[in-house]
């Protein structure tokens, strides 16, 4: 279980998070939605220590990870993988080496063994055929799929997906959705997904929380977003250009 308790975070005068609390149960697929710049990525980066809160606590399976040192975060990051918004592949490496990198860093295995494991993960996202090509040769969609494969190399218990289907074609987006669902159902992996993709939300989410002005506006199952009377949520979900929603 992941618990964010009363998280506050400001960047200079801008208060991004104003006392956010959230609990994500084991094996759950939790979607976090909100306008661009609402603080969704900022919130999830607190879990793996990429950003430290000004106030508040983060518990991972009951362990307080709020004030760990960089070295103490290493085992946490092994358990908790992250797929970044920008894919973050290293252009000078082949796709295979990109995926093999975490295996070589975390486990004392031979290059051959690391590459074998990496191929298995690339097969999950239908990218095994391109394993020996360089990351720089591919567009955003392909890179994103490889980034997902890389995140899964350490068989994490928790995976954070930051806009995993943005910029990829609908079929690939469907593959990613199925992968997330599969991770949760078959392996019991807890998934936190940041997304604007309404189709994905209604297809795979167990629970959806909407971040608005530094706090959660609505937290519940996807159906709750269709039934809500909240004008702000209604405007956001339906993509209406006018209404009470303040950007």
């Amino acid at each position: 279980m992941i618990e964010f308790i009363d998280i506050h975070k400001a960047f200079g005068p801008k208060k991004v998070l104003r006392g956010v609390s959230l609990t994500v149960d084991k094996g759950q697929i939790m979607f976090i939605i909100g306008a661009s710049g609402a603080g969704k990525s900022v919130l999830v980066k607190h879990l793996v220590g990429l950003i430290r809160p000004d106030k508040g606590r983060i518990l991972l399976e009951g362990q307080d990870v709020t004030a760990l040192t960089e070295e103490e975060y290493y085992p946490v990051r092994k358990r908790c993988a992250m797929v970044f918004q920008n894919s973050t592949l290293f252009d000078s490496m082949t796709l295979l080496d990109n995926v093999a990198l975490p295996i070589r860093k975390h486990f004392n295995v031979s290059m051959k063994e690391a590459r074998k494991r990496a191929i298995e993960k690339l097969e999950l996202v239908n990218m095994a055929d391109a394993a020996e090509r360089f990351a720089a040769d591919y567009g955003d969609g392909m890179r994103k799929k490889v980034a997902i494969a890389r995140a899964l190399t350490l068989d994490p218990e928790f995976v954070i997906f930051d806009e995993p289907t943005t910029g990829i074609d609908p079929i690939s987006a469907g593959i990613v959705d199925d992968l997330i669902r599969d991770l949760s159902e078959r392996l019991g992996v807890t998934c936190i997904v940041i997304s604007h993709d309404l189709r994905s939300i209604f297809r795979v989410a167990d629970r959806v929380a909407m971040l608005y002005q530094g706090q959660f506006r609505l937290d519940g199952p996807p159906a709750a977003y269709r039934e809500t009377d909240d004008a702000v949520v209604h405007q956001f979900i339906n993509g209406l250009p006018t209404g009470p929603f303040e950007l």
Binding site: E70, Y74, F84, Q85, T88, K105, G214, L218, D219
Partner: protein, 278 residues
């Protein structure tokens, strides 16, 4: 699962900061900014120094950076130092001709100046422009595209992975480039003296004023600049935020901070030389 309606968010607009608070922020802001900047620089410098002695060092990246920083800067530095040598000798030659009428010591003076100041410091200023900004832009881009976060997620310490190879390469190449720049500058000054004042190159090439202390000063300055420039450039890159605007600000910050850093180091080492060596 039950739907939880969250409490209404705090208002974001219409919040007024007290006047005294704003006044104190305005007065103290620049001091806290400079203090934080110096603290962060010292922290990055200390971490870099620590990881310099920590295995593994990415030697292939060091070689690649040597090529990027050294080979690709050579033409720019050679041209500037070549012209600078000629301009310096022309200006000093004219003054010396008017006041003394004797140009026999101009080469010896120029050589001493080249070792003590002109060679290491002007070369460092050009390396700061060419290399420091490049480092800030490269690492700043990695920060804003979350590549540095990805490194941290893979247990790779950004200072060890990114900064250490660049510092080793810049340290080595600063010394090499400074030596090349000095040779070119002296040769062009010698040619200039011959063409403009008909001064025999054998007369110009005069090492009488050089002492061992000049070599020590030259070595100390080159080494210090070779560390200061990449650390400042990489620090500016790591501190980048936002998008392309943030990367632009990082490059500006790198060139300003590196110029200030070079000036302070130059002053400190020149004062050291004045007190203990000359």
């Amino acid at each position: 699962m039950a739907t939880e309606a969250a409490p209404a968010p705090q208002p974001t607009q219409g919040e007024e900061t007290p006047l005294l608070h704003r006044f104190l922020e305005g007065v103290g802001g620049p001091f806290t900014f400079v203090g934080r900047e110096i603290f962060e620089l010292i922290r990055v410098f200390a971490l870099t120094f620590f990881y310099l002695f920590y295995r593994p060092i990415r030697w292939r990246e060091v070689v690649r950076q040597c090529y990027e920083m050294g080979y690709r800067s050579m033409f720019f530095i050679a041209v500037v130092m070549g012209f600078l040598g000629m301009i310096m000798v022309m200006q000093t030659g004219l003054q010396a001709q008017k006041m003394l009428g004797d140009l026999s010591m101009i080469g010896a003076l120029f050589l001493q100046l080249l070792f003590r100041e002109l060679g290491p410091t002007i070369t460092a200023a050009m390396i700061a422009v060419r290399v420091g900004t490049g480092l800030a832009a490269e690492i700043g881009s990695m920060v804003v595209t979350e590549q540095v976060d990805a490194l941290r997620m893979n247990d790779a310490e950004p200072v060890q992975y990114l900064i250490v190879p660049r510092v080793i390469a810049c340290l080595f190449m600063t010394i090499v480039l400074t030596c090349i720049a000095m040779v070119i500058s002296f040769a062009s000054a010698m040619a200039g003296a011959y063409l403009m004042f008909d001064l025999n190159p054998r007369t110009f090439y005069n090492t009488d004023l050089l002492i061992w202390g000049d070599f020590i000063t030259f070595a100390m300055k080159s080494l210090a600049y070779g560390i200061v420039i990449p650390v400042i450039g990489c620090h500016a890159g790591l501190a980048a935020f936002g998008g392309s605007e943030g990367v632009g600000m990082a490059t500006t910050r790198a060139v300003v901070n590196a110029s200030l850093g070079i000036t302070f180091v130059d002053f400190a080492l020149s004062a050291f030389g004045f007190v203990f060596i000359y």
